[in-house]
Amino acid sequence: MIRFLLERLLQAALLLLVVAFLAFVMFRFAGDPVAQMVSIDTTMEDRTALREALGLNDPLPTQFAQFVMRALHGDFGLSYQLGRPVAALLADRLPASIELSLIAFGLALLVGIPMGVYAGLKPESWLSRAFLIFSLAGISLPTFFIGIMLILIFGVELGAFPTFGRGDTVDLGWWTTGLLTPSGWHSIILPACTLGLFQMTFIMRLVRAEILEVMRSDYIKFARARGISKTRIHYGHALKNTLVPVMTIAGLQLGSIIAFGIVTESVFQWPGIGLLFIQAISTVDIPVMSAYLLLVALIFVSINLLVDLLYFLVDPRLRMSSK
């Protein structure tokens, strides 16, 4: 257990270091940092002095070490485009993204699991077939197109929901939330449906496949033979055993929520970190890009570690084999 954990931690640290190196290379070699900071009438001497002062003449490993140290302290420099510290920009935008992701993920679980259970228990019914076709559409339709269609139908035609932004937000000091105002809830519905749809179909297919598999197993047959009621077999035995793989795989899918969050935020002009990243890419705002890169890598690595741990806690076979 300890060895497994250490191995995973080492791997995670290594991955973060590789990403940090990529971010550093981008930061250091794309464009001249000095040229970004000086005006036309700065003399050559001043430039050289500045270069020396910034440590740009140090050997590269030293520079990389300094970059990592600064990153660990949350110092990513100033955004070229907005002229504000990158860390503060990210902190401003993070609540919007986290709220959107959680609501979308919750929606996907709340709708996806019941649909999957139904389709798994009654695979021949017409409703199950309808669910399957619906899920294929959910996988085939690109996120951005779903978003646009929702805007077109519910935003433009029916005028029922706002088509961009977060609505009114409440500032809690360290967190600005849109979930305390009616207009905030109104605004989050369309983006959350857009972002959650793919996850929902994914979870539905997963639960359906797992249930189908479990229902064929011996212990379900045995439970039937013992005369246990159908409801208890379905929900006490079958569903409970399918939730383990579902939770872990769904946890891994959080990563793709971040990725598709970029697209969703861009379609709905949702003021989160994904939108910030898209704007940074198109304006080549390198400090923002490299900071985002590191942040996302950190989130992914933590999720993976958590999922690994969860596996370990839930599946006794893994614990046995590692002893």
């Binding site: 464009g31 690109p142 646009i148 970029i262 697209v263 890419i281 992914f300």
Partner: protein, 309 residues
Amino acid sequence: MTPEQRPNLFLRAYDSDAGYKFRRSPLTVLAGLILVLMIGAAMLAPWIAPFDPFDKASIDLFNALIPPAWQSGGDPAFLLGTDDQGRDLFSTILYGTRTSVFVGAISVALAVCAGVTFGLIAGYFGGLVDAVIMRIVDIQMTFPAIMVALLIDGVTRSFMTRDQHSEMAIVVIIIAMALSIWPQVARTVRASTMVEKSREYVLAAQVIGRGSGAILARHILPNVMGPVLVIATINLGVAILGEATLSFLGLGIPAGEPSLGTLIRIGNDFIFSGERWMLIYPGLTLALLVLSVNLLGDWLRDVLDPKLR
């Protein structure tokens, strides 16, 4: 993969099973037909499209924003209407589908080449090579494809000037999509190679002194291609969607060249002003294309590898 290389008994079962499943599923037959029709039309775009969207001389700004032919104000010359620059929408969709299919097919082909090569090497030789390749695969698989593509686009943008980047846009997208798909292929090929390498026919080839390269290419490769075909088909859909998403975000193919993504991007600018056809028809084309690819992928998976479900 020529059928002659398979054991004869297996070949017969395989062939009839596939044929049977194909005939039994009307949805698959429909998807196949639609796909053949769409790809055929896209490949023949220069001959069947009524207008050439790259030919500045044939574009007339007076024809801008004409609705589809069956709506009031439509012009029979422009079947699906025209866009804001007066380009015939039907023609741009044909050319756009061509770009999308081209980008998707090339990136999947590249990913399959890389994935098969590294997967074979990792599975056959094992040891340190295997560990290094699989670690890279593991790391890359934690990042979703679209994220990898976005990052590569961002990185290349920071090293190139704007003009250089627009010129290289298609290449960047292809490389980005290929890079994000190859780990899946490598992982599958490695797993099947590890099974195959202890089979008698490989041992026999080793005994008569064939080199590792020949064994991999001539003996093992044909036997591990089944699942690769499934993954390639499913990822063709992923690659087409990825290109469309990047182009829609304005980070992919430059707006001047039609791809389904850029067409939807342009259409999206007119969402509030009522010219819906510019958004809906490219979008439907994209959805139909990817849906057909996915349906065919599902069918292939059922036929070739029931375990992959």
